[in-house]
């Protein structure tokens, strides 16, 4: 099967620090790929290179077989790659609807939209409500309440719903459960599975091994700026994975690169 997202030989240097060192990457259609790695291993840089937030110094990235080089996250979004950042990237004082449509608002049809630039609130609200419903994130009585009045899990839910609603090709989740309690983490993991069941592949960056082993189809282990190996969660234990990513143990058939 052809990967939907593929990267070969990525390099990214910040001064003397090499964040990406000849890094490869593949994401296949319909899968949840977890990316794990030690702090400073370069997994964030890898993800940012894919989502357009940083530009690699060398290397190539293909989306659906076409080579791409995003200059900013907005271009990546336009190509169908949605990212849920750890900070969620939401405006706390604005409503759920406003946040879901930030940067891609719908305007009224006809002269009200073209000349007076009037927003089509009814359509945006209906869409937002529908998307939240799709992910079982109801019962929201007031779709216009400010995001800051929501709990951490609810905010995460809205952010995931936004990504799932607009991410036609790939959804990237950066530490989606890091700030959540046990109960809310559970809900978000279900959300992730719901998104996959819609056929959208997901890249999940997480430090939480139980979460990774629970939802991931494959695990990309990142070490010292490049991909050490890709494992299936059923073939290895969590302790193995942690040993690989910290360098305590080497996976079969791999010799330490650095």
């Amino acid at each position: 099967m052809e990967p939907i997202l593929k990267a070969r030989g990525l390099y990214k240097r910040y001064g003397r620090v090499t964040a990406l060192n000849n890094c490869d990457f593949e994401l296949y259609p319909g899968e949840i790929l977890a990316v794990i790695g030690d702090n400073g291993a370069g997994k964030s840089t890898l993800i940012k290179a894919v989502s357009g937030a940083v530009q690699p110094d060398e290397g190539h990235i293909w989306l659906d077989g076409h080579e791409i080089a995003f200059k900013n996250p907005i271009e990546a979004r336009a190509a169908g790659i949605e990212t849920v950042y750890q900070t969620l990237a939401m405006s706390p004082a604005l409503s759920i609807t406003d946040n879901m449509f930030m940067g891609r608002e719908l305007r009224k049809p006809g002269i009200m939209g073209t000349v007076f630039r009037k927003l089509d609130r009814a359509r945006m609200e209906a869409f937002a409500r529908e998307k939240l419903n799709d992910l079982g994130l109801m019962t929201i009585q007031n779709i216009n309440q400010a995001v800051e009045t929501l709990s951490g899990g609810q905010r995460q839910g809205v952010a995931v719903a936004r990504a799932a609603a607009f991410g036609s090709k790939v959804v990237i989740l950066d530490e989606p459960t890091a700030a959540l309690g046990v109960k809310e983490s559970r809900r978000v993991l279900e959300l992730i599975r719901d998104v996959r069941s819609r056929g959208i592949p997901i890249i999940l960056i997480s430090h939480n091994m139980p979460h990774v082993f629970e939802v991931a189809d494959r695990i990309h282990i990142h070490r010292l700026g490049s991909r050490l190996c890709v494992v299936k969660p059923q073939d290895y234990s969590m302790s193995d994975a942690v040993a690989f990513m910290t360098g305590a143990k080497l996976p079969e058939g791999v010799t330490e690169v650095a």
Partner: protein
């Protein structure tokens, strides 16, 4: 999934057994205070509106002649310029910035309109250059027809604002410092440009009436001035006239209509267009807005440029209100404080992203009502400033409380 994963997730989340499965439920807090907080959170202009209503009621009882149409129209007339400057300030404050140069831009633009449109301004090579390089010497009189002079002045205001915005967005300088600098620069440039001269009101009326346009008025139920050869006593009271006898009827300046129109337009733009939502998002959390796809730098430059344009409009209105074109108009110094006062009392958060322009309008009205009401009651005028100071602190305290709505 694998046995490994199952067994692990089985143990570490064992404590979840029996826990409720519902997560994203949105239940209303039942406490009255909490509900009030939520309501104010969604309706930021409610606080100034309530204060305004209370002030109107108190002064209406305390001063017999307060609720007269002419008193109310005078209040509107006195806040016209502050209201327009407040539109500019409100936009900037919504992006978590501050514009200390609004008064300076307004005065400088009114002077530019006046000098370019009426007397003309001589542009020549400075002496210290032409003394050494005589072939560079030149001198031209820059003068435009009055209507074009107004357009030129508005353009200058737009560019001054855009310069503020560029320094803030592209150079990353703090708005307070940038506009503190441009305030001084523009005010000084204003004195140098005008050589500290005032254009008299008679010159404005004679050569460029369009400059004083906003000083004109509609009078409701007034008596028109008698035309040549007709006795004034023969004139009858009419519903609306533009040419009323002084002291007859209720006079509403064009400037008041302009202010209300600008507030209404900006309220629409901020609430019902994507650009308006982007202004809020930029002020609320610029990093989040940028990641969500809002071109925050562009929005900032546009906001400051638009604020500059509003200031230039206020400068044009000043010519009509004061009659003359004066580089020493007090607006250059007081305009900043007055506009910031209106914005803060109007419930717009200085931390950005919260509040509405209608609130600013109520804030400006509150100041006007206090000034007029206390004068009619006959107290020391210092009480006005005393009470406005109290209101400012009250408004910011309420803002802080509303911001804790999620807590």
């Amino acid at each position: 999934m694998s046995n490994d994963a199952k067994s692990v997730s089985g143990t570490y989340e064992a404590g979840l057994k029996g826990a409720t499965e519902t997560v994203a439920e949105f239940h209303d807090d039942t406490g009255a205070l909490k509900r009030l907080q939520h309501w104010l959170h969604q309706t930021p202009s409610a606080v100034p509106l309530i204060v305004l209503m209370v002030a109107l009621a108190v002064f209406g009882l305390a001063a017999d002649n307060f609720f007269k149409a002419s008193t109310l129209s005078t209040i509107l007339q006195q806040i016209a310029i502050v209201g327009i400057l407040g539109c500019a300030q409100a936009l900037v404050v919504l992006t978590a910035g501050i514009d200390l140069s609004v008064g300076a831009i307004a005065v400088f633009c009114s002077v530019i309109m006046g000098f370019v449109g009426i007397t003309g301004i001589t542009i020549s090579m400075p002496d210290f250059i032409s003394a050494y390089l005589p072939f560079l010497e030149f001198s031209v009189l820059f003068k435009l027809p009055p209507a074009l002079a107004v357009a030129f002045g508005l353009l200058c205001g737009l560019l001054m604002g855009a310069t503020n915005g560029w320094l803030i967005a592209r150079m990353g300088l703090p708005p307070f410092i940038v506009t503190l600098g441009t305030w001084q620069i523009l005010l000084a440039a204003n004195f140098i440009f005008s050589a500290n001269e005032t254009i008299r009101s008679s010159d404005v009326d004679a050569t460029a009436p369009i400059l004083g346009f906003w000083g004109g008025d509609l009078t409701f139920y007034g008596t028109p001035r008698a035309p040549e050869g007709v006795e004034q006593s023969a004139m009858e009271t009419v519903a609306i006239t533009t040419n009323a006898m002084a002291g007859s009827g209720v006079k509403v300046l064009y400037a008041v209509f302009l202010m209300i129109a600008l507030v209404a337009i900006m309220a629409y733009v901020l609430r019902h267009t994507a650009w308006g939502r982007h202004v809020y998002a930029t002020g609320d959390d610029p990093v989040a807005a940028e990641l969500a796809g809002v071109p925050t730098k562009k929005v900032l430059i546009q906001v400051y440029a638009l604020a500059g344009l509003f200031c230039a409009i206020a400068g044009w209105v000043m010519i009509g209100r004061f009659g003359s074109v004066s580089p020493t108009a007090s607006t250059g110094q007081l305009g900043n404080i007055q506009s910031i006062t209106a914005v803060v009392i109007g419930g717009i958060s200085l931390f950005g992203g919260r509040g509405s322009i209608v609130g600013m309008f109520f804030g400006a009205l509150i100041v006007g009502v206090f000034e007029m009401g206390l004068r009619l009651v006959g107290t020391d005028p210092q009480w006005t400033f005393f009470l406005i100071g109290v209101l400012i602190i009250f408004a910011v305290a309420v803002d802080q409380w509303i911001r804790k709505v999620s807590g």
